[in-house]
């Protein structure tokens, strides 16, 4: 099977070719079959690889396939080579699994759109790029996937390009992430300058011989993290993600919640060994993640656009994952990445179903009371909300709790404190969303009201298929270890921790810790109680404010200033506008002025001087033979004179 790794990314690529080249001639049905089919088959192929991996002894779980040499120049060499190890295997399953369901959902959501074939072409291209990113065995190929997903994100955000806001959002996403990507690229240069290779495993071998805290390693890890900050929309490069909601909702679910934005988390996890050798970088990762988590959650509290709430929630949850990576809780970060992929994908698809039901309305102030009218959407979204809020035994509880527990026990009290604060806010804004959308009285436009309808089966079935893992995945992946395992007298790491152990063990050795043993009693029990309590508190507060007495929608309680800051997204967009559009535009305009007036002015000046002196000299050509004779005579005298002077010396 390992000779067939290429098949996993190649299948979506085949979909790109078919729908991209023949799409205009295919029926929508054929387009859907191709678009979804190739991803489904890729999911099966990924399962096959996963099965093959499980059959191997834990420490030999690596499959590698070299396809061809892509670039060779001097001693630089980059191959198109694919690598499957336990870490990339779980990512493969998330990408193809969640991806497949979202493709299917899209069949209903995009029904009748005039860009139907284009949509599936882009979506398949995205899946292909994401798989290349996940499977890459060297930095350069990883970068290819990295840029590829960025491109698809650009194309899909701006999918409805006739809307200016969509086209602008796409461009903003591409350029903002490209700032991070330049950091990534410079990081690759530095990797090559330091290690003489860009192969990840060779770099690991060489890096292992460097001392902890080596300056080059710190620089490399920070530069690569800059790439992650851009792609995973962390502070201060987060500004593109909320705007990215201009794209079709399934795109928001797939790219801007479940997969692409987690690429930064994957990158840091994949390179955890390098980060373990650079404590400064780890601290930076934790800080950026922690700050983003609080910051984004604080904005999510007041947003009225249903998708924007989810977008800020995604930022915040990604911050959670980075905070986990920064404290060395790498398994927990990947755990949360997986559960988040399912429940956030579910929430986004649910919001798409809501938006569909109320005829393309996204403002929650114009919703309310939808629970009875679109029950499948309501129940699945409720499951998603409970899951993300961290109520046991749903998936989010386990992964979030593992992050909090690890942070506390590894001594990062501040990360734990941030995590708890964010947990309250998360529960609050999620149930604010549920309350405004589904509970209370309807505020839907009276013209739309009678036409509210539940989405077709092709959309609700994927919702339920995502809801199931949102319920059980946490329990499953934490089994047989903590925390349930210990209840039943079972010890040892959870399923996921055990599975990822071979990937992380060198890094853990360097950090001097193992995934901590877990228990339901003692400090762990207290921590669990705290996190569940705050989650319940947030939920209850939201329920009280937005559930029971839904009346007129005023914001209450929060001080006006803080509220304004939250509502205006802490003025980041205004700052960017000032710096990049206003000041940047002036600089560019000045450069053009300089070019036209100064650089070209000098050139034209030289031309004018030449022309004028030529004009002056032309007057010498009088046409009178006498004048010429005089000229010749003077010339001869001068020449003879100079000859005599030089020769005479």
């Amino acid at each position: 099977m390992h000779e067939l790794i290429w098949l996993v990314p190649a299948l979506p690529l085949l979909g790109v070719l078919i729908n991209g080249l023949l799409g205009s001639r295919l029926s929508p049905r054929a387009i859907s079959v191709v678009g979804c089919g190739v991803v489904g088959l890729a999911a099966l192929a990924a399962l096959g690889l996963f099965a093959e991996l499980t059959a191997l002894p834990p420490h030999t779980r690596v499959l590698r396939q070299v396809l061809y040499t892509w670039i060779a120049s001097g001693n630089f060499r980059a191959e198109v080579a694919l690598l499957v190890d336990p870490l990339s295997a779980v990512m493969l399953l998330v990408v193809t699994g969640v991806g497949f369901l979202i493709h299917v959902y899209s069949v209903g959501y995009m029904h009748g759109d005039r860009g139907y074939a284009r949509y599936f072409t882009y979506l398949n291209l995205f899946t292909f790029s994401m798989l290349v990113l996940v499977l890459a065995d060297n930095f350069l190929l990883l970068y290819v996937g990295w840029e590829g997903v960025g491109l698809c994100s650009y194309l899909l955000i701006g999918f409805w390009y006739e809307r200016d806001s969509a086209a602008n959002a796409g461009k903003k996403a591409f350029i903002t992430t490209r700032i991070g990507d330049v950091g990534f690229a410079v990081g690759i240069f530095l990797v090559f300058a330091t290690f003489g290779t860009v192969n990840i495993r060779e770099v690991f071998d060489a890096a292992g011989r460097l001392p902890v805290g080596d300056a080059a390693l710190t620089a490399i890890t920070l530069l690569l993290f800059l790439g992650a900050v851009g792609k995973s929309a962390q502070l201060p490069l987060h500004v593109w993600l909320p705007d990215a909601m201009e794209g079709p909702t399934p795109v928001s679910a797939l790219i801007h919640a479940a997969t692409m934005v987690t690429a930064g988390v994957y990158l840091v996890a994949r390179l955890s060994l390098l980060y373990a050798l650079a404590p400064v970088s780890l601290a930076v990762v934790a800080a950026v993640g922690g700050i983003t988590a609080v910051f984004a959650a604080s904005i999510g509290l007041t947003q009225n656009d249903i998708k924007r709430v989810l977008a800020y929630s995604t930022l915040s949850q990604l911050g959670y994952m980075f905070a986990a990576l920064g404290v060395g809780a790498w398994t927990a970060a990947i755990f949360h990445l997986m559960t988040h992929g399912f429940f956030k994908g579910l929430l986004f698809l649910g919001s798409g179903s809501v938006i569909h039901a109320v005829h393309e309305e996204q403002d929650m102030r114009k919703m309310g009371g939808l629970a009875k009218k679109i029950p499948h959407t309501y129940w699945t979204m409720l499951i998603g909300a409970v899951a993300i809020a961290g109520i046991p035994p749903l998936a989010g509880f386990f992964s979030k709790d593992e992050i909090l527990g690890e942070a506390y026990k590894l001594g990062f009290l501040w990360v734990w404190a941030i995590g708890v604060v964010v947990a309250i806010m998360t529960a609050f804004y999620m149930f604010r969303l549920i309350g405004l959308t589904f509970w209370g009285e309807s505020r839907v436009d009276t013209a739309v009201e009678p036409r509210i309808h539940e989405s077709p089966r092709v959309m609700t079935v994927p919702l339920w298929l995502l809801a199931i893992p949102s319920i059980v995945l946490g329990l499953f992946l934490a089994w047989p270890g903590p925390p349930l395992g210990s209840l039943f007298g079972m010890e040892g790491p959870g399923l996921l921790a055990g599975w990822l152990e071979p990937v992380y063990e060198h890094g853990f050795e360097l950090l001097g810790h193992h995934e901590a043993e877990f228990a339901i009693f003692g400090i762990d029990g207290v921590l669990i109680l705290i996190s569940v309590a705050v989650a319940l508190g947030g939920m209850l507060a939201a329920w009280r404010l937005f559930g029971v007495e839904i009346g007129p929608l005023q914001r209450r309680g929060a001080p006006a200033q803080v509220n304004r800051a939250s509502l205006n997204k802490w003025w980041f967009d205004d700052l960017n506008h000032l710096v990049f559009i206003v000041i940047g535009g002036r600089v560019a305009a000045f450069a053009w002025w300089f070019d036209a007036k100064v650089v070209d002015g000098i050139v034209n000046g030289i031309g004018a001087v030449t022309r004028r002196s030529g004009g002056g000299l032309a007057r010498v050509q009088t046409g009178h033979v006498q004048n010429y004779a005089l000229g010749i005579a003077v010339g001869l005298i001068v020449m003879a004179g100079s000859y005599l002077m030089i020769a005479g010396r």
């Binding site: 670039i71 086209a167 602008n168 490209r178 330091t194 290690f195 050139v603």
Partner: protein
């Protein structure tokens, strides 16, 4: 057509493959001279046939090229003016091979693109195009400096007419500016050539012999500068670039395509073929200056491109930026920088050539190139939009397409030479995304607001035939750049060796009194070796 093929066969038998490739367009021009000017369609077909045949004839250069060899291949040599050491000497190596191919590949496409755009003086236009092709091919194939100079000058004249006769409203200003700039450079180069002839003691214009005859270190700086200016005008490097936007905006599509794709490369080719191997000491001494000019070109060109109201001048300024990358890579003088630079010369030729073709397609429909006149074209011309998207992405260096590989290797090479160069140049990558995406957004996206755009026809079959080969090449070079890199690697390695030997020789000859300029620049290159040795 048959006549052309027969003439090609005769050339091939009499001289060789390379001669046939170089002179077949000239033969085509000769045939056109005697053709009836009223039968425009036949004229066009003949010219297209001649250039297409030239392309076919040049293919064996690729397939029969021995990638293991660093030296010249397909060499043809015959004495010409022996008492002056002048010979008819042609040959290609890894450095020139792909430039020859780029020229033979793009000329027929440019001719095809002007099928319906050029309606005045068709015969003269076609003759100019074919003369230009022979001139360009000769420049890349000539191994004798005298012969090189003749081709260099010969190519100027048809380009001057292309801009001056078939250009836009400001065509005379643009054509004269182009001519004066290039002539000034040519004169400097001529002086340099003569000095080279006398100073080296080789008493020959043969390039390969001159390679073996070291130029005295003291003379290198002045000679280098003479050649450098000639080439820098051509590239064009900041601050000598202002002729380019004018020339591009005024030139007809075919002229712009060849100007951007091939003519600009003559400057960078000159750096590789002459400046670096002939004057290695001076090149090293002046590298910091050149790198700084290249960096200014990258960032400044991109900034100015951002605010251009005219698509063509935007693309012209983007060329200043892209060529800055190329020069930076070449003067990094390590395998990555040189190979990347060479590859990027091809990439720029393809993607910028294609951009000018696309702009030309719009111009033919709307007779304007102002960005504000467009908007929402994706809706009206979906196929055009797809081609435009691919070319734009190639231009901004998206991995998987050609531009990325060259740009990456250049940046890697520059970074190894001096990390600051690498980082600053990398910022240009952000800027290129900004100006290209912003332009394509304003042209392609949004609603169709201008009624004149509402019924624009999409790509015709002929336009597809022009664009498709370039798009395929864009993918091919992006996915399998080894096809090129493998063939240019030995020649590049030899070039590096030449430069190093030249420096070593100069250092050995004059150990007690090193020329002033060399010692001044020692600080720069020391960093180079430092960066290279950093590998454990």
């Amino acid at each position: 057509m048959l006549l052309l093929a027969a003439l090609a066969a005769v050339l091939f038998r009499l001289a060789g493959l390379l001669t046939a490739v170089v002179f077949l367009p000239l033969v085509g021009a000769g045939v056109l001279l005697f053709a009836d000017r009223a039968r425009e369609q036949t004229l066009r077909q003949t010219a297209l046939g001649a250039s297409a045949l030239t392309f076919l004839l040049s293919l064996p250069l690729y397939f029969r090229f021995d990638a293991g060899l660093a030296g010249m291949q397909f060499v043809e040599r015959a004495p010409w003016i022996p008492q002056w050491g002048i010979a008819y000497h042609l040959g290609v190596d890894g450095i020139s091979l792909f430039l020859v191919l780029l020229t033979t590949f793009l000329t027929p496409l440019a001719l095809l693109a002007s099928w319906s755009a050029i309606t005045a003086r068709v015969k003269e236009f076609l003759i100019c195009m074919l003369l230009l092709e022979t001139g360009m091919l000769g420049v890349f194939a000539a191994l004798d400096l005298f012969l090189f100079y003749i081709f260099w000058e010969a190519m100027l004249v048809p380009m001057y007419f292309l801009i001056g006769v078939w250009g836009g409203p400001q065509r005379i200003y643009a054509a004269v500016k182009f001519l004066l700039y290039t002539m000034a450079g040519s004169l400097l180069m001529l002086v340099g050539l003569l000095a080279l002839y006398f100073l080296t003691g080789a008493r020959s214009f043969d390039l390969l012999e001159l390679y073996r005859a070291p130029v005295p270190a003291a003379a290198q700086t002045w000679l280098f500068l003479a050649f450098f200016l000639a080439f820098a005008f051509k590239v064009p490097m900041f601050p000598f670039h202002t002729w380019l936007p004018d020339a591009h905006v005024e030139a007809p599509t075919a002229g712009s395509v060849l100007l951007a794709a091939v003519l600009l490369k003559m400057g960078t080719y000159g750096f590789l073929r002459f400046s670096l191997p002939l004057f290695p000491v001076a090149a090293e001494a002046l590298t910091p200056l050149i790198a700084v000019l290249a960096l200014i070109g990258i960032l400044y060109g991109a900034l100015v491109a951002m605010v251009q109201p005219d698509v063509k001048s935007l693309v012209a300024y983007s060329s200043v930026s892209h060529l800055g990358f190329v020069v930076l890579g070449l003067f990094a003088l390590n395998p990555q920088g040189l190979q990347g630079g060479l590859l990027q010369m091809l990439n720029h030729g393809l993607s910028t050539g294609a951009l000018f073709l696309l702009v030309g397609i719009l111009y033919e429909r709307r007779h304007t190139r102002l960005i504000e006149e467009f908007g929402g074209l994706s809706r009206v011309m979906p196929a055009f939009a797809a081609a435009f998207l691919i070319v734009t992405l190639s231009s901004i260096g998206l991995p998987g397409l050609n531009g990325f590989v060259g740009e990456f290797l250049i940046l890697l090479g520059a970074f190894r030479q001096n990390p600051t160069y690498g980082v600053l140049a990398a910022l240009g990558v952000i800027l290129s995304a900004i100006y290209m995406l912003w332009m394509s957004q304003r042209v392609m996206f949004g609603e169709v607001t201008n009624p004149a755009n509402r019924a624009l026809p999409d790509l015709t079959g002929r336009e597809w035939a022009v664009l498709l080969p370039i798009i395929l090449a864009i993918f091919w070079l992006g996915l399998y750049p080894q096809a090129v890199l493998r063939r240019i690697e030995p020649s590049v390695a030899r070039l590096i060796q030449q430069v190093e030997e030249g420096r070593a020789r100069a250092a050995a000859l004059e150990p007690q009194t090193p020329p002033r300029l060399v010692s001044e620049a020692d600080a720069g290159p020391k960093l180079v070796t430092g960066a290279q040795d950093r590998r454990p």
